[in-house]
């Protein structure tokens, strides 16, 4: 029941509350409710006798942690053991966030180190510039990654993003961060082949993404099985932190962030949440079709992957909630060029996929669980009056499109079941930015050429 304590603390309470805990088997259909009767006195206790330990409002700041070892190697090993026991780790060894390392990371911003950026739900942990630099130091990050991470945390704190909600859900949610602007290339964020996986030439995404994971867990309180009910955990431990392939956008196709009011070339990050990561084998084997036919027919394949029944009716927003996007469709720049060459635009793709994900009403009515909820939400509804075919999401605009992935005609990617609105944040660079990038080139070599 740490989920309750963590969520409670997100409301400003100390992580303690009067509750009566039952096995989950009590909360399923046709369960035996006898335990409620056997423990009814505990309800009375909670309302009349229970006393909290914290009786004053205050900011509670934990002390620093000291770890010793006979040498450096042993000290680091002991630190990692401690972090595992305290549930501060993600299970993979961490570097010590020494003062020297954190100070180095902090050269990546001109913001004061004690500036509060956000409070991370559900726990409500206070994310300052300095406390954000700490997990980046632990994951082996570099100063030039910090501006992106700060912008991501700013988005986490957006109340409309409901971080506390998607963190604690039983679903396997993970954060998706799409970076626009020249910063992506400068800090070696991946955008082509292997962009969703590990890449030693482009380590920024994994290190930033892992730092996000630690922030969500440590400051946000989302520890598996106690701080969050996610049955299978976040689908991606390092989340998704990638750059859009702006350099290779087809003529007339604008970067994703321009749809949110940013001028082209602005460094910004857009956040979404997903729990569905699907590689779509859209096309690629030439079997005699024209380029036009290939592109058009590929959307039939893509639509199949996207066809998930809506959770609410009237259909509002994406498949899983009011106002939410249905997901992010990643198209690699080669496929985008092919699509554009035969007249496709982002708008026409959205329209086509919205239409092709419509499902015949007779088929939709076989989705028992969704239909039951539809009738529960709309008492007395005549199912025969539902649209035929039935839309799977509210409108074409609920589909986000970003250009990323290896330049190959066969694959696209679907980051589905977007859950919330998409906060965006401009990425602020320090005055010494050029120096940081130059130092990165000294340490890591020239910026790799994308294949």
């Amino acid at each position: 029941m740490d989920v309750l304590k963590v969520t409670h603390s997100g409301l400003g309470f100390a992580p303690e509350l009067a509750f009566v805990n039952f096995p989950v088997t009590l909360f399923v259909a046709e369960s035996d409710l006898t335990p409620l009767k056997e423990r009814i006195e505990e309800f009375t206790y909670g309302l009349t006798k229970w006393e909290p330990e914290v009786t004053e409002t205050a900011i509670l700041t934990p002390p620093k942690v000291t770890v010793e070892g006979k040498d450096y190697e042993e000290a680091v090993a002991n630190m990692n053991r401690l972090f595992l026991r305290n549930q501060w780790s993600d299970g993979v060894p961490l570097l010590p966030a020494t003062k020297e390392r954190v100070d180095w990371i902090l050269t990546g911003t001109d913001l004061p180190r004690d500036k509060e950026i956000a409070r991370v739900g559900p726990r409500g942990g206070i994310a300052t510039v300095e406390s954000i630099a700490v997990p980046l130091a632990m994951t082996g990050g570099r100063p030039e990654y910090l501006p992106v991470l700060i912008a991501i945390v700013e988005g986490l704190g957006d109340p409309e993003f409901k971080t506390a909600s998607w963190q604690t859900t039983s679903r396997g949610t993970f954060l998706v961060a799409i970076v626009n602007g020249p910063i992506g290339k400068q800090i070696r964020l991946s955008k082509t082949f292997g962009c969703l996986g590990p890449d030693s030439q482009r380590p920024a995404g994994v290190r930033i993404g892992r730092a996000v994971r630690l922030i969500l867990q440590d400051m946000g309180g989302a520890t598996p099985g106690s701080g969050t009910m996610s049955c299978y955990g976040p689908n991606r431990t390092t989340n998704v932190v990638i750059s859009e392939d702006e350099e290779n956008l087809p003529a007339g196709w604008e970067p994703l962030n321009t749809e949110y009011g940013y001028a082209r070339g602005t460094n910004s990050v857009l956040l979404n949440v997903s729990c569905l990561a699907v590689n779509m084998w859209r096309r690629g084997n030439y079997i005699g079709e024209t380029l036009e036919e290939e592109q058009d027919e590929s959307f039939d394949v893509v639509a199949w992957y996207m066809r998930i029944p809506p959770k609410s009716y009237p259909v509002e927003g994406g498949g899983r909630g009011k106002g939410s996007p249905v997901g992010i469709y990643l198209i690699n720049s080669l496929v985008a060029e092919q699509m554009a060459s035969v007249g496709w635009t982002k708008e026409s793709i959205r329209q086509t996929l919205w239409e092709r994900t419509h499902t015949p009403l007779a088929e939709y009515l076989t989705y028992g669980r969704e239909v039951r909820k539809l009738k529960y939400d709309n008492p007395g509804i005549d199912l025969a009056t539902l649209p035929d075919p039935m839309p799977m999401y509210e409108k074409p605009e609920n589909l986000l499109i970003a250009i990323a992935g290896g330049r190959h005609p066969s694959q696209n990617f679907w980051l589905g079941e977007g859950r919330a609105v998409c906060p965006t944040a401009e990425i602020q660079l320090p005055a010494i930015w050029d120096q940081l990038i130059a130092e990165a080139e000294e340490d890591l070599g020239p910026i790799p050429i994308d294949p």
Binding site: V24, L36, I40, L60, K64, T66, K70, G125, S131, D218
Partner: protein, 162 residues
């Protein structure tokens, strides 16, 4: 200091050149021996360029070299947290009080809440209970506090979290 990577086992340039010289000497030797038994062959000198791969071991600065005990001081990554709300004082008794049942209609609440209410009604016959159906289901909305207060609730029982 840590090495960036272990050098693969391979021929060093010195060893390669030495080997080549031995080969060359063997060829020259064979030519010299051959000259005893046969007319001296024409020696054609030809310069051949052979690319030689050189492995460079790059030493990367690691942590400070510490031969003795080491103490690391690192931040608690959970960071600071602010308590802005305190729990309401407990009631002295439920007799004569108004108890409100709240919930988001999830996880069998349509069964558990009425049953809890029924059990408490028997224990506290002078208490008044307002069922969860009389309140909004968006219980994480800040407005719920005012709604509960306006309804005259002295205490709330919220469920169900799964």
């Amino acid at each position: 200091m840590a090495k960036e990577k272990e050098a693969p086992k391979e021929l060093s340039r010195r060893e390669f050149v030495k080997g080549a010289a031995v080969g060359a000497a063997a060829v020259a030797g064979a030519g010299a021996l051959a000259s005893c038994a046969a007319p001296t062959p024409e020696v054609i000198k030809e310069t051949v360029e052979v690319p030689v791969e050189v492995t460079k071991i790059v030493e990367v600065p690691g942590p400070p070299g510490e031969a003795g005990p080491v103490t690391l001081e690192v931040p608690d990554p959970s960071g600071a947290f602010e308590v802005t709300e305190l729990h309401a004082p407990r009631l002295d008794t439920l007799e004569g009080k108004t108890i409100c049942m709240l919930g988001n209609e999830s996880w069998q609440q349509q069964r558990t809440s009425p049953y809890i209410q029924e059990l408490l009604e028997k224990m506290y016959p002078t208490a008044t209970f307002i069922p969860y159906t009389e309140f909004p289901t968006e219980i994480n909305d800040k407005k719920i506090g005012g709604i509960v207060k306006d309804a005259g609730c002295d205490a709330v029982i919220i469920g169900n979290a799964g």
